[in-house]
Symmetry: C2
Amino acid sequence: MADEVLNDISHRRYNLLRGSWLLVSPHRTKRPWQGQQEAPSKTELPSHDPSCYLCPGNQRAQGDTNPAYASTFVFVNDYSAVKESQAAYSPPDQDGTLEKRLLRADPVTGKCYVICFSPEHNLTLADMTPSQILPVIETWTRIYGAHVSPSSPFARLVGPVEAPPRDPHASITQPEAQYRWMQIFENKGAAMGCSNPHPHGQVWTTTGTPEEPAAELVQLMKYRREQGGAHMLADYAELESRKKERVVFENKAFVAVCPWWATWPFEVLVVSRTHKRALVDFDDEERRALAEVMAEVTRRYDNLFETHFPYSMGLHQAPLEGSAEEIESSYFHMHFYPPLLRSATVRKFLVGYEMLAEPQRDITPEQAAARLRDCGGELYRKKL
Amino acid sequence: MADEVLNDISHRRYNLLRGSWLLVSPHRTKRPWQGQQEAPSKTELPSHDPSCYLCPGNQRAQGDTNPAYASTFVFVNDYSAVKESQAAYSPPDQDGTLEKRLLRADPVTGKCYVICFSPEHNLTLADMTPSQILPVIETWTRIYGAHVSPSSPFARLVGPVEAPPRDPHASITQPEAQYRWMQIFENKGAAMGCSNPHPHGQVWTTTGTPEEPAAELVQLMKYRREQGGAHMLADYAELESRKKERVVFENKAFVAVCPWWATWPFEVLVVSRTHKRALVDFDDEERRALAEVMAEVTRRYDNLFETHFPYSMGLHQAPLEGSAEEIESSYFHMHFYPPLLRSATVRKFLVGYEMLAEPQRDITPEQAAARLRDCGGELYRKKL
Ligand SMILES: O=P(O)(O)O[C@H]1O[C@H](CO)[C@@H](O)[C@H](O)[C@H]1O
Ligand SMILES: O=P(O)(O)O[C@H]1O[C@H](CO)[C@@H](O)[C@H](O)[C@H]1O
């Protein structure tokens, strides 16, 4: 590390991607833990569960029946957080009142999908080979492509696309709005609010750009302007790949690191080595390289504490619609946010100080990366 | 509510205090919950636990013995996240390198205290009367006063103060730095990472101003400049007290609301009606009013689901040191961030979408406030 002393002293690190600081207290893991224990994850599941609303051939909560799908399967979320159409809202227009100044709201429409990663109820990405993960990436690419703005530079790239399913439960049928942001993510494990172990992820697409990607885009554009067109994450991938201390895994197209500014104990950032704006910029080989990185990261996670390692994971890429500068400054990357700290049952809590002041972490990202590097090889469950 | 339609449609609300948006999806609580259940809190605890490191007369982890205290008791955290003195770190000074540009760190020193709220092991703020809570507020005020900068306008106000305890474990004895920020908070309950039910809170004091209060201060100063010296939170308290729809409890000096921009299902903001920069600005009557609000909020929380309601809670006020504008724009308030959503065992998870995109809530703050308003009266445990 640049300076070994950072292994011992309290310090703040700057998250260049979000433009915010966090507190690092490396000595703090020495304190004894008498607090909450997470439930250890159940390991014995059937490959098909008749009561699972995601398994092939089963009925879902609102009555639809899943097809006998063989790879991935996409449907509109039966409990979508945002909808294609809803009653109109126009904010009260009483200029100068306290209401207008202090109580601000904007309507949001959008579309939420669920993507089953596999028909097998008892698989996770960690169990899947890169070639089994590849269809997930291809499905993400298809959904993203189907939603890009006709005015965006991607429209030509994508060409004619298979339309995503329309919401069968939309009460009013209106033309879809052009959405600005597509958030692709996965919550894995009960500790991350996931209520069904069947391997699946979500896609929430909205008319506005949410806070996190908006903050990142500000930082990416700023860097590019200040550094004569250089991309921050290309520079960062190059630096990390050269220094190696935070690298977990790398291949020709991607570098997976515990980033310098990681908040969660074993947080991982996957970043492409060269500038890719979004999924649709990848060729076959790059998609296969991404599948390999996803397999390597999730398998190492499970091996670390020999458990089904919970996490939330997601993609940040170009907005579906945006200015040329916004699109061209966007830089494809993936975040993995896992809560575990010490073992399969002891997690990190981001609570009082973290909520009221700023994020705080206990081990350094360098220590976390070294442990994940050492967890390669076969999945622990296969060795049992 | 200004517009009833916000009870039914997805919308974003603007958090004026942080300067950020969140997504509200009121219809979303209709989905069934098959996910993680929190452990119900244990209700039967002794008033003195020989194995508790916070009870009077007991020995702590690092060997110190607690006095036979009768009200509050303060000591330096045995596992402080920041320390008064540590090895020096100077960031590498190689201008123009990627390291310098991308890997930024700053050392932080500071001091962490633990404050026991009562000698009784089995009390919580919800069990305590306002007159039992008053000493907690007085202790906070004393610690804050003891740390304000000699150059701050508070120095005169505070007068000679009882010095807070020095860290007996500091390896090097150096003069304390002038700290900029004092974060007073409480984590309550296992769900909020608290490992000891003995009623206690923490104080972390640091050389830098953390992200959350820094962001709030930007917003408070901006409003004051734009509104000819008016204070945003005074205007907000007045508006909420007039509209009543988000008010949980109010008295002469304070208003407790589920704020318009609440992220957590039953989040509460306590705000003083008139401009108070910090704890040291309150007189006896105002301190008693604050104790009453704290008793009312925590008792209603416990009554809501008839459980020991977990939360993280904390104070935002003036920095210990700052420019005149920073000090004068600061506005005392308290945040309560509780995780529960549907029952004593079903919490809200701020996970995938929330971590990667932006916070999302299911019920509206107006619905939450109505339920908390209806939970007044005696503590449910006393009625059993
Ligand atoms: O300080 P404690 O009670 O040991 O620890 C608790 O509060 C801290 C401050 O919010 C958090 O960083 C820890 O994750 C949490 O477990
Ligand atoms: O959509 P789900 O899986 O029902 O719900 C889960 O993910 C959502 C998006 O991160 C969160 O808002 C919920 O709190 C969580 O339980």
